[in-house]
């Protein structure tokens, strides 16, 4: 019995993918060239899988802020804030992220994963109930393992399914916390948040919204789905990340609840992790300012999204249900997905792959993450290659058949 035998089934799939040379997890970018280009296998490649939604990872103001901070305050904090103390920039960032959402309190984490893991697992404990959407991110599922609360899944984006589960526990004394996401990362669809908030409130439950993929993307100010559907003042917690729209790394939670700060001495993933380094904090603050001051970035992003989603939908691809910065091409076969992914890479386009068991209904996905920094030519080029490969692999009908069908 070897220590890795637990993973024997996974290992077989891993080896198969590795042997075939189609290894989405093994991609190395030899050199980054811009917000939307990298050199991979010696070839200049358009990156459409980086979640750099607003292009701010390469924004000159964000880079300058990071460079100045690293010179001024060093490369790292070398420990956690409860042990080593906070830098004034951590506190300033927390003030700014709270203000941005119009909330009273904020806590900053070293990754978005830790923000979900820490906040969710600390808010509920033994005797409590955590109600999570079936398609939740791994960080939310891992929070379920980290808490003694009963974790109960409801059907994806289904308020009636949530209601049935809240009704079943309505007479239990424990706290109920509902967790939903603004934009779901696999298929790019959005929660029916207004309805979810209404159901949660009717049963006296708290509600937390993970806006990792929607912050900077949705809402007039870019606060996310809660702002876009007008429930910002009626959700209890918003969790977000600095690694998508804000182009760096880190996570946060904001809230209006008075006793929120107790999490600072109760939440272990916050307490026992080295805090964000000065360069990251500085670039995130600059990126947050850009989200506030440059709504044209959001406009450009959505123009790109609609153009790309429209081109693939017109071609007949099965996509996520709604146009969003994550455009997921849904395919039946894992092998076809890996082959098309590899062919795209060979043609100079890098996208993400989503495979079961991580995908909601066992589908295989080619996931494209659209950015405001993409040019129309880059996205048109990817759409063209996808359509050509779709026909080659029998995912799309041949062009002459389509013409005949339309005639």
């Amino acid at each position: 019995m070897g220590i890795f035998d637990t993973h024997s089934a996974l290992m077989a799939r891993y080896e198969t993918a590795r042997a075939s040379g189609q290894m989405p997890t093994g991609v190395v970018m030899d050199r980054l060239l811009s917000a939307t280009e990298a050199e991979i296998n010696g070839r200049k490649t358009v990156t459409v899988g980086t979640h750099n939604y607003l292009g701010l990872a390469y924004d000159p103001a964000c880079i300058d802020a990071a460079v100045e901070a690293v010179r001024r305050e060093g490369t790292g904090t070398c420990g956690s804030r409860i042990a080593n103390g906070s830098f004034s920039e951590h506190v300033a960032l927390e003030r700014e992220i709270a203000d941005f959402h119009g909330m009273a309190h904020a806590m900053v984490f070293s990754t978005g994963y830790q923000a979900n893991l820490g906040v969710i697992s600390t808010l509920v404990g033994a005797g409590d109930f955590l109600l999570l959407d079936a398609d939740s991110h791994a960080s939310i599922y891992d929070a379920c393992k980290q808490t003694q609360a009963s974790a109960i899944r409801f059907k994806h984006n289904d308020p009636a399914s949530l209601e049935a589960r809240l009704r079943r526990v309505k007479d239990e004394p424990g706290t109920k916390l509902v967790v939903v996401e603004g934009i779901y990362s696999m298929l790019g669809d959005m929660a029916p948040l207004k309805e979810m908030v209404e159901v949660a409130r009717r049963y006296g439950a708290y509600i937390l919204v993970d806006e990792a993929h929607s912050m900077g993307v949705l809402g007039e100010r870019g606060c996310g789905l809660a702002e876009a559907v007008g429930v910002l003042d009626n959700v209890d917690f918003i969790v977000g990340t600095f690694s998508k729209s804000l182009g760096a790394v880190g996570g946060y939670c904001v809230s209006n609840l008075e006793q929120f700060d107790i999490l600072r001495v109760a939440c272990r993933p916050y307490m026992f992790t080295a805090s964000l380094p000065p360069a990251t904090v500085a670039s995130v603050r600059a990126a947050l300012a850009a989200v506030r001051e440059r709504p044209q970035l959001r406009e450009k992003l959505w123009n790109n999204v609609n153009r790309f989603y429209g081109a693939l939908a017109d071609a007949g691809f099965q996509l996520g249900s709604i146009a969003s910065p994550i455009v997921a091409v849904c395919l039946d076969s894992e092998l076809t997905t890996l082959a098309m992914w590899r062919a795209l890479l060979d043609r100079g386009y890098y996208v993400n792959v989503g495979l079961p068991p991580a995908t909601p209904s066992g589908e295989s996905l080619l996931r494209c993450a659209i950015s405001a920094a993409h040019s129309e030519a880059q996205l048109d080029g990817l759409a063209e290659q996808l359509i050509s490969l779709g026909r080659e692999y029998g995912v799309l009908p041949q062009e002459d058949l389509r013409r005949a069908a339309k005639a």
Binding site: A9, A134, D135, Y141, C144, K145, S150, A151, I152, R153, F154, K155, H156, A160, S161, A164, R165, R168, V169, P356, P357, A358, T359, P360, S361, G362
Partner: protein
């Protein structure tokens, strides 16, 4: 949907649910579920078992029939999202919730059915 449940009533989702079944009867049945397999002569147990097996069948590898003793962790990948979604249908059919930590403890379809029978009428 599974077969009719005696002494059932209709839940708000329109499906028959066994909330009116006397608990002592159900708990007695639960004891009969293991270790020798399900007791198909009892209508409640038979209905729960049949629905569980029927719901999980599409997730079995081609050619494999899901039986009460099929290992749902290794043969069906109960931790995969799609199989866990099937469990949501089972929950709604019997108007109970199966917390994730409990779900992870079930080795066989029979274990899951036994848990459901033990929870009927209790939420």
């Amino acid at each position: 949907m599974g077969g009719p449940i005696t002494k059932s009533q209709t839940g708000d989702n329109g499906h028959a649910v066994a909330v009116s079944m006397p608990l002592e009867v159900i708990e007695g049945d639960c004891a009969r579920l293991s270790p020798d397999g399900l007791a198909p002569d009892d209508p409640v147990v038979a209905t729960v078992a049949a629905f569980v097996l029927q719901t999980l069948q599409p997730y079995a590898p081609a050619g494999q029939i899901v039986t009460p003793t099929t290992d749902i962790t290794t043969d069906l990948h109960i931790d995969s999202l799609s199989v866990m979604n099937a469990v949501l249908d089972i929950e709604d059919r019997f108007d109970i919730s199966v917390p994730l930590n409990r779900l992870a403890q079930f080795r066989t379809a029979e274990d899951l059915a036994a848990y459901i029978v033990s929870r009927l009428g209790k939420h």
